[in-house]
């Protein structure tokens, strides 16, 4: 890639002084700062992503022996999963002595960081959030974690593999964007989708082990400051090209931050493509909790109803997460959660959501592909289209902002 400006050179080969400067400019959560800083220090490493996943077999066996204390385990049928975008995912069959004491085979999945990800997140944090959600809403059970990648080569978590359907169509849509559910599926899944979101927001997070999440002061702007700080820092660390509309958006978002009275557990990526349902049409898993944080429930509402993630019904009407109209989604959410939807705050989080998807599509994805440090270089370049679509929508919203 070409670096045409001093700033672009700094992003590609960040010096310690440049990293210190960028850390001082954007308020982010403690763990986010650690992850982003680590990413920058590793950026100059030239080794690209190794796509030969068979390399994982041996360290995986050793890791599982250590974790289980069993020496006669077997790892069979290690395979890469298709779909997804930010993390490498594999399935395998673990043959071991299960909790009942009997020798058994259990199908598991590995969720592992590539060398550079479209969202740099902490596996221990995702693990803590999944465990907090376990028993409250449908999630896969997390069994083990290698948070720093010391044993598996890259940070990873291992969880139960659940059977089900994420995308009903033949011919998959990238990362679940613009999916179509037929009327029968919409009728069966819509209410569950909203009810589960309300249940997530009702989780009593203070009673959970969530030490990797910063706890914002109630009735303050701290939660939105750090949420915005994350995406603004990601943009300024990763973009290959400055963008006037993104600066316009960042300024507006900083000058119009709403207070968060009572922070809730925000999923951070709640939408079609991130849930799975069983053959009897029950949602049996919510995925991709890596962006969860403590903040305003309007953030999840705005994200789940973002036009980019929506698909049309039979009349061509765009549906929130391809399941129902935005109005129906918000009405159902108020019913199930007891939370009021404030249109002004929803508008703020719609702008933040478009800013976020624009950062992911137009900056972090393209950066990861340019460094050749993902398992999905072609897809990451292609995803730039989502980013520029996001910027376009962002500008339309900003033209209507007060």
């Amino acid at each position: 890639m070409n670096n045409y400006t001093t700033t672009q050179t700094n992003r590609t080969s960040p010096s310690a002084a440049w990293i210190a400067d960028i850390r001082s400019r954007y308020p982010v959560e403690r763990v986010v700062d650690e992850m982003f800083t680590r990413k920058l220090y590793k950026r100059k490493e030239t080794a690209g992503q190794n796509l030969d996943f068979t390399r994982l077999h041996k360290p995986l066996v050793e890791f599982l022996k250590n974790e289980t204390g069993q020496t006669d385990i077997e790892v069979l049928n290690l395979q890469r999963l298709s779909g997804g975008a930010s993390k490498e995912q594999f399935t395998f069959d673990l043959v071991w002595q299960g909790p009942s004491g009997a020798r058994e085979t259990r199908k598991l999945m590995v969720r592992m960081d590539p060398k550079e990800s479209i969202v740099e997140t902490y596996r221990l944090r995702e693990c803590q959030v999944l465990k907090a959600a376990w028993g409250e809403v449908p999630v896969p059970e997390v069994l083990w974690i290698d948070p720093e990648g010391g044993q598996l080569g890259q940070p990873a978590l291992i969880a139960d593999f659940l059977e089900g359907t994420v995308q009903p169509e033949v011919g998959e849509k990238m990362s679940g964007v613009g999916m179509y559910f037929n009327p029968q599926l919409r009728a069966a899944l819509g209410d569950q989708f909203v009810k589960i979101l309300a249940d997530i927001h009702a989780i009593d997070w203070r009673k959970k082990d969530l030490t990797t999440l910063d706890v914002p002061e109630p009735n303050s702007k701290t939660a939105v400051q750090t949420a915005l700080g994350l995406w603004e820092r990601a943009w300024n660390e990763d973009t290959l090209s400055a963008h006037p509309v993104m600066e316009r958006a960042a300024l507006w978002l900083k000058e119009n931050m709403p207070v968060v009275e009572t922070p809730v557990l925000v999923h951070g990526d709640y939408r079609s493509g991130n849930f799975m349902y069983s053959d009897d049409l029950k949602i049996n898993a919510i995925f991709d909790w890596e962006l969860a944080y403590l903040g305003d429930y309007h953030d999840d509402l705005a994200w789940a109803s973002l036009t980019i993630f929506g698909g049309p019904d039979e009349e061509g009407n765009l549906l929130a997460s391809s399941l129902m109209s935005v109005e129906e989604f918000l009405t159902k959410y108020e019913h199930y959660s007891g939370n009021q939807v404030d249109p002004a705050r929803l508008f703020y989080y719609q702008i933040l959501s478009f800013y976020k998807i624009s950062v992911i599509g137009a900056a972090t994805s393209i950066r990861a592909a340019s460094s050749r440090k993902t398992h999905l270089d072609a897809m990451m370049n292609f995803a730039g289209g989502i980013g520029y679509l996001g910027i376009s929508e962002l500008n339309r919203l900003l033209d209507n902002a007060k």
Binding site: N2, Y4, T5, T7, Q8, R80, L81, S82, G83, E172, M174, V177, G178, S241, A242, H243, P244, V245, M246, E247, R248, A250, L251, E255, T307, I308, G310, G311, P312, L318, L376, A378, M379, N381, F382, G384, G385, I386, Y388, L389, I391, S392, N395, R396, L398, D399
Partner: protein
């Protein structure tokens, strides 16, 4: 020279779709091959417009930065203290850049990488001005925002048109074709075609 780039790209796309993909058994490999084929299709639609896209933006950024300098110059002339120091630093950067890529030069004869590099610099200068809006006097900020609003709109329309072939836009049919935005009467839509 033959074949033209479009022919190279369409040949590769056909080979991947009709030879490689039907013989892949791994789902991940199928998925990635599909993205490669779609990317080749997209490149086929834009490859002959890349140079003019950058040239068009070059003219647009030169124009908007000159207009911003005019607003700030007028403010400095009216204010006793002159231009805000931080804004002044960016003004100096723009003026220095215009010695490198002069708005009066015949940019169309420059190499692609020169134009692209110049555009990247000018985008950064404009972004710095946008970040500094809180430091502008109220009237200057209002004038600046009024100046930028149609510029933002033109970016919105142009970029959305550029990426519509990637297939993510639910309103793709409502977007203009990039060729219609770039050209009029088979000429690039720039104020001074000599540039």
């Amino acid at each position: 020279m033959s074949p033209e780039i479009e022919q190279f790209l369409s040949g590769m796309k056909k080979t991947i779709e009709e030879v490689v993909m039907p013989n892949l058994t791994d789902r991940f490999a199928q998925e990635q091959a599909g993205i490669v084929a779609a990317t080749l299709g997209f490149l086929g639609t834009i490859q002959d417009k890349v140079f003019h896209y950058e040239l068009f933006e070059n003219q647009e950024y030169k124009r908007i930065l000159q207009d911003v300098l005019t607003i700030l110059d007028a403010d400095a002339a009216n204010a006793e203290a002159g231009t805000n120091e931080t804004l002044g630093v960016v003004v100096e950067k723009v003026n220095k850049h215009f010695q490198h890529d002069n708005p009066a030069d015949q940019t169309a004869f420059r190499p692609y990488l020169f134009i692209r590099g110049s555009n990247e610099n000018m985008k950064e200068f404009l972004c710095e001005f946008i970040q500094l809006q809180p430091e502008m006097p109220v009237q200057v900020r209002q004038d600046f925002e009024a100046l930028l609003k149609p510029f933002f709109k033109s970016i919105e329309i142009r970029e959305r048109s550029w990426v519509k072939g990637l297939g993510f836009d639910p309103a793709a049919e409502q977007q203009a074709d990039i060729a219609d935005l770039l050209y009029e009467n088979e000429y690039l839509r720039v104020a001074n075609i000599n540039n």
